[in-house]
């Protein structure tokens, strides 16, 4: 008799989810998950993720399972197809626990902009888990799933990974298919793994990465790479670049200390480091938000309640009907970004805002290209502060945007980045982000794995 099969361990996971105070999930799929686990116990299903519980961010489409994107506008929507990443998880036998909470349409840094209430940080329930993939990171840190998928448009995987003390990867743009991922800013976003350690994150990346004919922006670079082959302890001879612009005046001193300690640790393990400059960094925030808002205004034009989602009230003419439904369905931050994007793209402002931002994006991309001629990996704080309090920033959009200052240049350049735990400020976790050149995920995984194997920051929050 099998005492602790997949069914039993999955069942225990759901007990934790059902008793949880975190609000990490919008929808759970207990029947589907237990059925998968049972089939694996019975030997009818197998794969590299057999018995592995995985939470899916709710902007990633799941066949037959409600998908809300954290928004009221998708009320009642049950997708008729799986996103490519979900299809790949199912093929490897993943036990999908449910749909993780998020900022509405992935617009946010705290998961407070969800129509389904904020998620709480497992390390301190009065604080945010980060965002926008806050439900995914909280579920992993709070032992409510072993792994999770998030999406990262300007830091949305790495920020919550840092705030919740787990590992998160933002892959190179194009490495992972976006087919079935509800678009917010399509030239910036990638699906990325969140896990409790680098090994799990590398395994999940290996499953989801690879070209997909259904996403014409996906590339085939990952098709012949096995990311788990790079779980090796070796940083000898690597040159780590430390960009001075990522250690700003106003940053938290404990974060600064912990990240420098992390860099010293890598040096002790055989790497060299040198300070570098990425001068375009100071303009990244403006360029990022202009591009993201412009893309959002176009991508979110499709939500009108006609083919799916919210369709309330009496029909009038098209414009009034859709304008009323969109006003009811979108939250304040989504309205702000869609409207600012509409404004920036409107006649007379296109050159001033959108075109200018795209040119600045080139400068930022050139910064990284230049830096990677001299260094192998860039190390910096993921977030300039530890998790902040729920309610602290949500009424001041600009102060929320400023929190993304270290993560969003990476999306503008399209390069990959991994956030790993590197210390604590009191009981709150701190994340260090390692950034690589395009398609250098193997190097990032090797560096992060070496760091993790020689440090002791992969802790589980108290009370869990």
């Amino acid at each position: 008799m099998i005492m602790a099969g997949y069914l039993e361990s999955s069942y225990r996971t759901f007990e934790r989810i059902e008793q949880s105070k975190l609000n990490a999930f919008i929808t759970i799929d207990k029947p589907g998950a237990l059925e998968t686990a049972k089939a694996e116990d019975d030997g009818r299903l197998a794969g590299r993720l057999a018995g592995v519980t995985v939470a899916i961010k709710d902007c990633i489409t799941t066949k037959g399972l409600r998908t809300t994107c954290g928004s009221r506008i998708l009320e009642g929507y049950t997708p008729p197809f799986d996103a490519e990443v979900v299809a790949r998880l199912r093929k490897e036998g993943a036990v999908i626990t449910g749909k993780a909470n998020m900022d509405e349409f992935a617009m946010g840094t705290s998961t407070e902009n969800s129509a389904y209430g904020p998620t709480r940080n497992p390390w301190d329930l009065s604080r945010v888990p980060g965002g926008s993939s806050g439900g995914s990171a909280a579920a992993v840190a709070g032992l409510e799933s072993r792994m999770a998928l998030g999406t990262d448009t300007g830091g949305s995987v790495r920020c919550p990974a840092a705030f919740c003390g787990v590992v998160g990867i933002k892959p190179t743009y194009g490495l992972v298919s976006r087919y079935g991922v509800i678009a917010y800013a399509n030239s910036l976003e990638q699906v990325g793994p969140i896990a409790r350690n680098v090994s799990d994150a590398a395994l999940l990346l290996d499953v989801i990465a690879g070209g997909d004919p259904k996403d014409s922006t996906s590339v085939s670079e990952a098709d012949n790479v096995c990311y788990t082959d790079y779980l090796k302890e070796d940083v000898k001879g690597l040159t780590i670049g430390v960009p001075k612009e990522y250690f700003s005046e106003g940053m938290d001193k404990k974060v600064e200390r912990a990240v420098w300690d992390g860099i010293m640790k890598l040096q002790e393990l055989g790497a060299d480091y040198r300070e570098i400059s990425l001068p375009g960094t100071k303009h990244a925030l403006s360029a990022y938000y202009i591009i993201a808002m412009c893309e959002a205004s176009s991508n979110l034009a499709r939500f009108d309640g006609l083919r799916y989602g919210l369709r309330t009230g009496k029909d009038e003419n098209w414009h009034n009907t859709f304008s009323r439904i969109r006003a009811e369905g979108f939250g304040a931050e989504v309205k702000r970004r869609v409207m600012l994007g509409t404004y920036a793209l409107s006649e007379g402002y296109y050159g001033k805002y959108y075109l200018k931002a795209l040119q600045v994006r080139t400068l930022i991309r050139d910064d990284f290209a230049r830096a990677f001629k001299d260094v192998d990996v860039i190390a910096a704080p993921t977030m300039p502060m530890p998790a902040f309090k729920i309610g602290e920033r949500v009424d001041d959009p600009l102060s929320m945007y400023l929190a993304d200052v270290n993560t969003l240049p990476i999306n503008l350049a399209g390069v990959p980045s991994i956030s790993v735990p590197c210390g604590f400020a009191g009981r709150l976790p701190i994340g260090m982000q390692l950034v690589g050149n395009l398609f250098d995920e193997p190097l990032l995984i090797r560096t992060a794995y070496t760091f993790e194997s020689n440090t002791d920051f992969q802790k589980i929050p108290g009370g869990f």
């Binding site: 008729p80 743009y173 030239s187 202009i290 006609l306 098209w318 304008s323 409207m339 509409t342 200018k356």
Partner: protein, 93 residues
């Protein structure tokens, strides 16, 4: 400087029917955000090409071969208002 009237107009362009109490708050927030963005005016971008896409993909083609797709029933299953297998929209005329 964005006025409340401007916000109302942007709302019309973006198809979002704003409540009166929203326009004042949005006008204030839009001004503070756009003020911040104004720092880009000082960046010299003469002769710099815009980056639309980071990995330099151009057109991606595939063979023109028919593949399976959703059935009519599946494709319309999520529409709240339907008639005879079609999605029902608001009146045009």
């Amino acid at each position: 400087m964005i006025t409340e009237k401007d916000v109302e107009h942007i709302g019309v362009l973006a198809c979002i029917d704003l409540k009166h109490e929203e326009t004042g708050l949005f006008a204030k927030q839009f001004n503070s955000i756009l003020d911040y963005f104004r720092e880009l005016d000082g960046v010299n971008t003469d002769g710099v090409e815009p980056t639309y896409h980071v990995i330099g993909l151009t057109n991606v083609f595939r063979e023109d071969v028919a593949e399976g797709s959703l059935s009519q029933e599946e494709a319309t299953a999520n529409a709240a208002r339907k008639e005879k297998g079609f999605i029902k929209g608001p009146r045009i005329v």
